[in-house]
């Protein structure tokens, strides 16, 4: 079978279960395509030979009851993987090899999946274009010199480019949904507390969530079912009854009330985005949903609040990278000198910027004006959603205010870069689940995504809405394999 990599996850699983394909064949196909796709720069660390070995081992004694039987998967390089280098896209962890496995990746291996390698991302997940990675830009398979979004840019690019059937990313302010939108793929940010943060290199602890990325909603639901578990090793993990999301998936959303928040109609939003949104509303109606106008009055304060809270937590979370215990260490005259040189050379400019912002907003004298106020705003944003959910079951918005942009286009304009997250950030601040599905193309032929935001722990509902709309939208990603010579 020459086009194994074009198969969806569900198709691959079915083929392996029906013994029409072996794990080795599948693994080899994705490795071959990955080898031919070096120009995309999706991988930071490849683990191909070990993956092949594991696939052969799987085929010798295949356990076909598993949910991901012998399926090769590449994952974002923010997840710690035992004995496999984990860099978080940073020079400071360039040589770091964990002796432990993150809970989320462990869940995947427990269901029979095989690690292909570690995917590129923005340094410490700080970025919206994958341009802050120490390991270089990632190319969007949609077009040459186009960013794949970020921070899970390598993950989005690898799924869109069919280098991995599915993947996992992390989402602190939009890092799954925005790259999914930029690459014409599906990405889910689960409710905060749904997936364990154990073993994920931390960016902003109160916002970080791991989530699935896939070519379609069904695959996304299956992977979410695998990765979402209660974990006592993460004190913020929540012990609630989790659905069998893929089994319970339905396109029957008749009578579901979907809210349209007027505050998401931001100034300067391209016409194409507005049109996409209107189309989305029509699709939802066509699926039998009821559309309700709602208000989320504090939306405009979300982005500034996010850019206080996230850097504040990051400035503290990244203090451990000091050259003392592991990772990169620069030579210094004394302890302080070593700290300064290690952190100046080990962290990139964007990470340093956020550490400085975070340190500033937590400083005595500024704490109340910035950090404390941002936390209060966060509460108001959450209240907005709570009020809205008294009237509706889910909320529909665009995923991003624009389609993918060119590499380098916004690199020197952090504020314009930060604005990418304007529709995704409120969801993280409120701890809610949100999914981005591809819904159309702009005039350049670049994909555009719609975001469906759900109630806390109501992933099943937004997956169902996404599943129903996906059918109506009938989106086809335009992948020309331009990078394969």
């Amino acid at each position: 079978m020459s086009d194994i990599t074009k198969l969806t996850l569900s198709e691959l699983v079915k083929n392996i279960k029906d013994k029409k394909l072996s794990s080795e064949e599948v693994t080899k196909a994705f490795i071959d395509r990955s080898e031919k796709s070096k120009e995309l720069n999706t991988y930071i660390t490849e683990d191909y030979s070990s993956a092949l070995e594991k696939s052969k081992k799987f085929d010798q004694k295949p356990n076909l009851d598993l949910k991901l039987p012998g399926i090769p998967i590449a994952v974002k390089d923010l997840f710690c993987t035992k004995d496999i280098r984990t860099t978080a896209g940073s020079k400071i962890l360039d040589n770091f090899i964990p002796s432990y496995e993150s809970t989320v990746t462990q869940n995947i291996w427990n269901e029979g999946a095989i690690l292909l390698g570690k995917l590129n991302c923005d340094e410490f997940a700080m970025g919206s274009s994958n341009e802050t990675s120490f390991f270089g830009n990632v190319q969007n398979p949609i077009d040459k010199n186009l960013v794949p979004g970020g921070s899970s840019g390598g993950s989005a690019s690898a799924v869109a480019g069919q280098l991995t059937p599915i993947t996992i990313g992390t989402d602190t302010g939009g890092s799954i949904r925005q790259p999914a939108s930029f690459t014409g793929t599906v990405g889910l940010k689960p409710t905060y507390g749904s997936c364990s943060r154990y073993g994920i290199v931390a960016f902003a602890s109160s916002l970080d969530q791991a989530g699935p990325m896939a070519q379609n909603v069904k695959d996304c639901a299956l992977l979410h079912e695998v990765i979402s578990t209660y974990d006592p090793k993460d004190s913020t993990s929540i012990d609630f009854k989790r659905n069998e999301y893929s089994k319970e998936l339905t396109n029957n959303i008749k009578g579901t009330k979907i809210g349209i928040p007027k505050e998401y109609r931001v100034d300067g939003m391209p016409k194409e985005i507005e049109e996409l949104w209107q189309k989305g509303i029509q699709y939802a109606k066509d699926c039998g949903a009821e559309i309700v106008d709602i208000s989320l009055p504090h939306t405009s304060y979300a982005l500034p609040s996010y850019y206080i809270v996230a850097p504040a937590e990051a400035s503290s979370n990244l203090a451990r990278y000091d050259g003392v215990k592991y990772g990169f260490r620069a030579k210094g005259e004394n302890l302080i000198d070593m700290y300064e040189k290690t952190r100046s050379e080990g962290f990139g400019a964007e990470v340093q910027r956020r550490i400085m912002i975070g340190t500033y907003v937590l400083s005595s004298g500024y704490y109340d004006a910035y950090y404390l106020k941002a936390q209060k705003v966060r509460k108001l944003i959450k209240n907005d959603f709570d009020d809205a959910y008294k009237k509706v079951d889910a909320i529909l918005t665009p995923s991003t205010p624009s389609s993918a942009f060119k590499i380098g286009e916004k690199k020197d304009d952090p504020v314009s870069m930060y604005l990418n997250d304007i529709f995704t950030v409120p969801v993280n601040l409120a701890g809610l689940p949100g999914i981005s599905i591809p819904a159309g193309h702009d005039s350049k032929g670049y994909p555009l995504g719609l975001q469906i935001i759900g109630k806390a722990f109501d992933e099943q509902n937004i997956l169902n809405i996404a599943f129903a709309m996906e059918e109506k939208i009938n989106f086809k990603n335009k992948i020309t394999d331009w990078w394969i010579k």
Binding site: P98, S99, A202, A204, K233, T236, A319, L362
Partner: protein, 495 residues
């Protein structure tokens, strides 16, 4: 040296025209007695090989997360109950951010705005009466690791065994007024925590150490002076020395018309002086904020009440009971309850003495002979060479007249070697007291007969000679004759 007036037991520093009062507040760091750390499952044993009790969490590896140790929470609440303090049903863990090589996370997890325990109080027994010291708060926090600078000329070594060990920081109000009160306060805290089993109070191993805040003011003034904080003092003696030095230093500055800088100081135990470590301007900005890896700590009334039911009798209550039930003097009771092991020993002696017990005698033997031996041999009472059971038997032997107090001392000496049963010693060595009046009468008749001249002299008024006859009787009986009977019979015979 400067004069210290102790009139009315008040601790004042005197200068030509002024008298100064010393105001002291303590921040005590007490290591929680727990087999594992505050947020990880690593062991906490003292003296282990460096870096053998370190988990990925303690060493702050990427993606590692803290998980609260419920046992440590219980220990902190129990301590709060022991300090008669308010238990906060909701408390918050914050990050205290600073860089140091032995602080792997780059922050210490502590409690800043919302500690687990609020205001409480401790009663001190001072020579001039009781004194109440207010407790401001108690919070839980992680200990840091240890930097070792003297193993290599170029490098610093870091031992993370202590990193993440649970500490209780107990903050007193500025209620202490003298080095003696500080000593009594530390001893009382230590005693309460040892009764509760929440801290072993071992100062040599660093389980109990304190930051000492000292300020001075002219006597009668109501305002507090500028304070200096003396960091990390690890013995009561050093605390007292540091306070004495620091208070005098501050008084000297005032007398010279200079001002006192609010600063952090270190006590140099070799030079017996404090010196500046960092000034207020150099003080760290710790950028405290709630740790997003941990949810606020919430405990229910039921949880607290279950712990309350678990609280043993504490020193103050035990003392009251010893006075009421055993008719001890407050002084004796204070000595016996101050350390839980002493109290346990005493109570075991009481129990083993049975119905016909002599409490006074038991107390005297414990606080006299036994304490002397322990002191000599530098032993804790838990390591006593004489068990409570055998001491009780010895006291009973005296009480029922089997042996005299004097013989008892001989027996006690013999008991020290292998905790021997005093009853057996008395039997084997034939040390039983002669309490047969007839036999003693015969003995005395013989002595009087042998010393007729002295007997006449006595009868003529030389009463001092009575002691001579007693001595003779004891000598002839080999010390075994009942001294009371000797007295009675001698008096009769020499009339």
């Amino acid at each position: 040296m400067d004069k210290v007036s102790k009139k009315n037991l008040e601790y004042l520093i005197n200068r030509k025209d002024n008298q100064y009062e010393v105001i002291i507040g303590l921040e005590v760091h007490a290591q929680v007695l727990s087999e594992s750390k505050l947020f990880s499952t690593s062991a906490t044993k003292f003296g282990a090989e460096p870096n053998t009790q370190v988990s990925l969490v303690d060493a702050a590896f990427p993606g590692m997360l803290p998980v609260i140790n419920e046992f440590c929470v219980k220990q902190a609440i129990k301590t709060g109950i022991g300090l008669n303090a308010e238990i906060n049903k909701r408390s918050v863990f914050d990050r205290k951010n600073y860089f140091y090589a032995d602080l792997p996370q780059g922050y210490q997890i502590s409690q800043f705005k919302d500690p687990i325990v609020g205001e409480g109080k401790v009663i001190l027994d001072m020579p001039d009466g009781q004194k109440e010291v207010g407790i401001e708060r108690l919070h839980l926090e992680q200990d840091a690791g240890k930097s070792i600078h003297d193993l290599d000329p170029q490098n610093t070594f870091v031992d993370l065994n202590r990193s993440g060990v649970a500490l209780m920081e107990i903050v007193s109000k500025p209620d202490l007024r003298s080095p003696d009160e500080v000593s009594a306060y530390i001893k009382k805290l230590r005693s309460i925590m040892r009764y509760l089993g929440t801290c072993d109070g071992n100062m040599q191993e660093g389980s109990l150490r304190a930051d000492v805040n000292v300020s001075v003011r002219t006597k009668g003034s109501k305002e507090l002076g500028t304070r200096c904080e003396i960091k990390n003092v690890n013995s009561i003696k050093f605390m007292q020395m540091a306070i004495e030095y620091e208070a005098n230093r501050q008084v000297d500055l005032i007398e010279e018309g200079k001002s006192i800088d609010q600063e952090t100081r270190l006590f140099d135990t070799k030079k017996n002086e404090t010196r500046s470590m960092r000034s207020k301007e150099d003080a760290h900005d710790y950028r405290y904020f709630p740790d997003p890896d941990l949810l606020p700590l919430e405990v229910s009334d039921e949880f607290i009440n279950n712990l309350k039911n678990d609280i043993p009798e504490l020193p103050d209550d035990k003392k009251k009971r010893f006075i009421d039930e055993f008719k001890l003097s407050p002084y004796e009771a204070t000595i016996l309850v101050s350390d839980i092991d002493t109290a346990k020993y005493f109570e075991e002696v009481v129990a083993k003495m049975g119905k016909n017990k002599d409490m006074k005698l038991a107390v005297n033997w414990i606080t006299g002979e036994l304490f002397a031996v322990l002191n000599n041999k530098n032993l804790e009472i838990s390591q006593s060479p004489v068990s409570a059971k055998n001491l009780a038997i010895l006291v009973n032997l005296i009480k029922n007249g089997t042996i005299s107090g004097k013989i008892a001392k001989t027996v006690f000496e013999l008991m020290l070697d292998g905790d021997k049963d005093p009853q057996k010693i008395v039997e084997e060595k034939g040390l039983k007291q002669q309490s047969d009046p007839k036999a003693i009468e015969t003995l005395i008749d013989k002595i009087i007969n042998d010393n007729r001249e002295k007997a006449i002299e006595y009868k003529q008024g030389k009463e001092k000679l009575f002691g001579f006859f007693v001595g003779q009787a004891m000598k002839v009986s080999g010390g075994k004759a009942n001294p009371q009977l000797i007295n009675e019979i001698l008096k009769k015979k020499l009339q």
